[in-house]
């Protein structure tokens, strides 16, 4: 029960803070009961893994013998002695810096473009843009389109037009792997954030636009910046979090497209490095250090974006 509902709550002034809290806790027993199953599962499968990963990152651990404490050795090895990790960091950054903002702006712009369409047409267009992100492994069609033999549509067409004379091995060519993965990532990127933007735009009161027009907003771009975006700031924040998480979690798709390891590590990301040491080499301590770095990058990216978004409409 909430505080206001308690008919005879003892005045808060009569008690110490601890007493008050304890009383509130007892009064709200049922709330703890309701969150208990969820919180328990969340603790086991999310909180403990994060905390335990941080602990393991300071140790050497092979799953069989008890971990031995190393302090910072894993991190020193990671940053000073692991060239492939540096490639992975670089690739992850290139990937995130391109896919993150581009997919975010694309989701926002498409949602904005379709906002004034009639509802039925809007529903169809929404489906067209949203479908690639929910359809499981349908992205593998890009492998068929860009297949390395002349039956692949892109190679076949280029050959027929005489633009190339031999097939390009798109997914085995270090120059092509990364750009293609970025294109596929963008193709599957209009997910939850996109839907959230559509809903946010729909929720803006039309009278605000009319008032803005009276106040001298001259074109749709000013309207977007001064009225629309500030009114949907909460959605912008939520969408950013969704986009950041998904663009850092794209490694599995890359593996399915380019194999593992990708040619010359051209699409090797931190996720692949983590997988390599964690599930192939069983260097769990070292893999945990990689996981902690990835975790820090993702949380850092979120705080950075939060800062940037607070400037919207100013």
């Amino acid at each position: 029960m909430s505080k206001t509902a308690a008919p005879k709550a003892v005045s808060r002034k009569d008690m110490t803070r601890a007493q008050w809290t304890w009383k509130e806790m007892k009064r709200n027993k049922v709330a703890y009961l309701m969150v208990a199953p969820y919180v328990l599962l969340f603790t086991i499968f999310t909180v403990i893994p994060v905390v335990f990963s941080i602990f393991l990152s300071f140790t050497e651990f092979n799953l069989l013998e008890p971990p031995t404490f190393l302090f910072l050795d894993n991190y020193i090895r990671l940053f000073l002695d692991d060239d492939i990790f540096m490639i992975a960091v670089q690739n992850t950054m290139v990937f995130a810096v391109i896919v993150g903002p581009v997919s975010y702006i694309m989701a926002l712009m498409v949602a904005w473009f379709i906002n004034e369409l009639p509802p039925k047409i809007r529903a169809v267009v929404t489906l067209i843009f949203y479908a690639p992100s929910i359809s499981g492994n349908v992205y593998l069609i890009w492998k068929t389109l860009f297949s390395g033999d002349s039956y692949g549509w892109v190679n076949g067409t280029l050959l027929k037009l005489g633009i190339i004379t031999t097939e390009i091995q798109f997914f085995e060519d270090a120059d092509w792997v990364m750009p293609l993965c970025i294109v596929v990532a963008l193709w599957t990127s209009l997910g939850t954030a996109f839907l959230s933007f559509i809903a946010g735009l729909q929720g803006i009161d039309r009278s605000m636009y009319e008032a803005a027009a009276v106040d001298g907003i001259r074109n749709r771009w000013q309207e977007l910046w001064y009225v629309t975006l500030p009114s949907m700031k909460p959605q912008l924040m939520f969408g950013a979090i969704m986009q950041i998480t998904s663009c850092f979690g794209f490694g599995g798709v890359v593996t399915n497209l380019c194999g593992f390891p990708s040619v010359d590590y051209a699409a090797h990301t931190i996720m692949h490095h983590l997988d390599d040491y964690g599930s192939t080499r069983f260097e769990v301590g070292y893999a945990s250090a990689i996981a902690v770095v990835l975790f820090a990058i993702m949380i850092g990216a979120n705080f950075l974006v939060k800062k940037i978004l607070s400037k919207v409409g100013q």
């Binding site: 489906l127 929910i134 499981g136 749709r220 993702m298």
Partner: protein
């Protein structure tokens, strides 16, 4: 003050013909980028073998046939583990996983949204933080935890952690905050109704769009669940995994492979078509205010 143009009784907003044209062109180009690969999947699945392997390749199909789908079902019938078993696994995992998630997440979401209890805000904020990182980070230790629990190679490993999926709890909590009226809950409380009863008979019926959204999000993930790292037994594997296996066999099965992709993608798409308006309604309260 700018002069306000009106048409009928409606204010005409700042729209230029040039801008409209530019936006339309951009939208069509982006739409083509999104749609054409999907269309190509369908085209491939309808192509007879000689059209699949022709040079130069053609985007569209000339003599569409359902032979690829027939081949797919023949291959299914020949599989070592009866195909019905894979289908059962997927259905079982999807139904139990989705129901459990909906129940536990809604229960917790209600308490976070509508009861003011010490520690509640902190707990919710901690849970919300997990939206900010991808599950890869926790995968390694999760595997160790699964072995400790003895859940490796059981349904539990796939089903139970998903009960506590964060996005569902978050969306449900946000939706309840805006759509469940506090006044109604208060009067029920004054009448002496138990909180659990209020949750089940008053709050839950008010948030049906959010239910549907949670169901669909969870279902979509479980449906797309392929080869889980926790499952080794062939008997416990999913439809998605099996269909990937039987169609992975080279040139001869390319047609069946394309057909299987169409089957796999149609299900989430159909589900979304049916529920789109409810999902968008739920997303209306998805914003993050602090």
């Amino acid at each position: 003050m700018a002069r306000l143009r009106t048409r009928g009784h409606k204010v005409v907003l700042n729209r230029s013909a040039g801008g409209d044209t530019g936006i339309t062109i951009l939208l069509v180009l982006l739409g083509a980028f999104m749609f054409l690969p999907m269309l190509y999947v369908v085209m491939q699945s309808l192509k007879p073998l000689d059209e699949l392997w022709m040079f130069p390749p053609r985007f569209y199909v000339v003599k569409p046939t359902f032979k690829n789908f027939k081949d797919l079902f023949t291959l299914m019938n020949d599989s070592w583990v009866p195909f019905s078993r894979y289908i059962f696994n997927t259905v079982f995992i999807s139904v139990v996983g989705t129901a459990g998630h909906l129940f536990f997440a809604s229960l917790a979401a209600y308490a976070f949204a509508k009861i003011n209890f010490p520690g509640g805000k902190l707990m919710f904020k901690t849970i919300r933080t997990s939206l900010m990182f991808h599950a890869t980070v926790t995968g390694l230790v999760n595997f160790i935890i699964m072995s400790w629990l003895g859940w490796v190679d059981t349904y539990a490993a796939v089903i139970i952690p998903g009960f506590a999926s964060t996005l569902g709890l978050y969306l449900m909590k946000q939706f309840m905050e805006t759509n469940v009226s506090g006044a109604v809950l208060e009067s029920a409380r004054l009448d002496g109704a138990h909180e659990l009863k209020i949750f089940w008979t008053i709050a839950m019926p008010m948030v049906k769009p959010a239910w549907l959204t949670l169901i669909i999000y969870r279902f979509k993930d479980l449906w797309n669940e392929g080869a889980s790292i926790y499952i080794h037994s062939e008997q416990l594997k999913t439809f998605n995994y099996a269909i990937g296996q039987i169609t992975a066999g080279g040139i001869k099965r390319a047609g069946a492979g394309a057909a299987s992709t169409v089957v796999m993608m149609m299900v989430p798409i159909l589900v979304f078509v049916i529920s789109q308006s409810n999902i968008i309604e739920t997303m209306g309260s998805s914003g993050m205010k602090d």
